[in-house]
Symmetry: C2
DNA sequence: TAAAATTTTTAGGCAAAGCTAAATAATTTT
DNA sequence: AAAATTATTTAGCTTTGCCTAAAAATTTTA
């Protein structure tokens, strides 16, 4: 239906719309997609003609409902494939993104639905990112950063917003992953770094790190510790 | 490494080299790939520059060792994905080809090897076509057509060379698939059509059909019938 | 608010991969 | 062996998606 390139633009616009208050600019897009601004302008004109985006010369771009639903379909595929790679094919969570970038463009309604079913209709991908359902609806979840909490809190890791290989490998090294329990032992005042306890060991996390770890308040930690 | 289009040409040349004695001509390729002869000529020049084919103006084309090994890698992926779709995702064997045409172009050594492993290193795809191993070596197998046999012979279906949806659906309707036992009851002299027995029922197969069904002599039919 | 800086768009090119129409080479027929 | 037919290649054009350099609009700064 749409080319790989067009799909990548839609996805990039979606992500930028999510992560910033203001409209999406040509330069932000060109940075995200590693292309030149001139190429972005051209593509935006094409996408606007196809009614996938609202584009006003010099004033940025936003997705139309049609564009948004297409973007969500691509993201759904991307995250389902990442889940498949980790759960079925022994990929580590820092190796999946590149391959998923290719697989997300495969066109087949049946393939996506059967894959979803085969995997047990997962709600979150290996990085804790929510997987939209077939209708494009994202699962309910609240995003709070580890950096927002205070000494004494015990939390469950639910996602990681910097998906770079190096950050994911750092987390691996310290055995921090999805559903890992983390309790805050102390916070340095001058740089807001945190000393946290993970299982038996204590780890120092920089503010950059704690801002990129999404957590949930742990309601059942007492119970689980007894079991 | 190579574009999807280039990969499709390599695959097409491979298949045509296999299925015909003589060299592969521009017109055969244009027919196979549903493009115009002029486009084929252009692509052949590009592939020759990249040392993937031997191309002599006006005298057809053949794969170099490099080209052949790349073609086999694509075919390996195609057939592994077809196997995956049928075995894991509830696809019927007449629905897989189109999706596999897309999946075969995904680039990731690890993906292919892990998929192969996950599937249990199958030797044949859902249509009975041999799957090359990682080194590009095809499993041993002998191709004989049902049309070569005579009344009284009992045979096991091992492959189907016309992979069109309609032929595969026809086989489905008559419950003929891989490893189905078929015995020849009679052969019409005037059109060489065959009356065969499959399980409890008798089916009439045209010569076109029997030429497209690959079989093996059944060594254990007596034993199996007793069990 | 006018000048400077920055961002965005336009203009003009390029490569891949397709097309049609015309030219040319190879093959078949007479 | 020449003519006719068929196959193949060349020439010229199109679209997609990218680029650089120049022009124009917007935003920031003074
Ligand atoms: Mn990813
Ligand atoms: Mn992810
Ligand atoms: Mn196939
Ligand atoms: Mn097949």
């Amino acid at each position: 239906m749409y080319s790989q390139s067009e799909e990548n633009y839609l996805k990039a616009i979606y992500h930028l719309e999510e992560s910033s208050e203001k409209g999406v600019s040509t330069s932000k897009l060109s940075e995200e997609l590693q292309t030149k601004a001139a190429s972005v302008t051209e593509m935006l004109k094409r996408l606007a003609e196809k009614k996938l985006v609202n584009y006003q010369k010099y004033y940025g771009v936003s997705l139309t409902p049609e564009g948004k639903s297409w973007a969500l379909a691509i993201i759904r595929k991307h995250r389902l494939w990442e889940y498949f790679l980790v759960e079925c094919l022994n990929f580590n969570w820092d190796e999946v993104h590149e391959v998923a970038e290719q697989l997300e463009h495969i066109q087949s309604k049946k393939l996506v639905e059967e894959l979803d079913c085969f995997l047990g209709r997962p709600s979150f991908d290996p990085h804790g990112d929510p997987i939209p359902n077939a209708a494009g609806v994202l699962p309910e979840f609240k995003k709070r950063r580890l950096s927002e909490f205070k000494v004494g809190d015990t939390l469950i890791c639910k996602g990681f917003s910097d998906a770079s290989s190096s950050f994911l490998q750092f987390l691996d090294q310290h055995k921090i992953g999805l559903d890992t329990l983390v309790s805050i032992k102390s916070i340095q005042e001058f740089d807001e770094s945190m000393l946290v306890k993970v299982r038996k060991s204590e780890i120092m996390l920089s503010k950059t790190a704690t801002q990129n770890i999404f957590v949930e308040k742990n309601k059942e930690s007492k119970i689980k510790e007894k079991v």
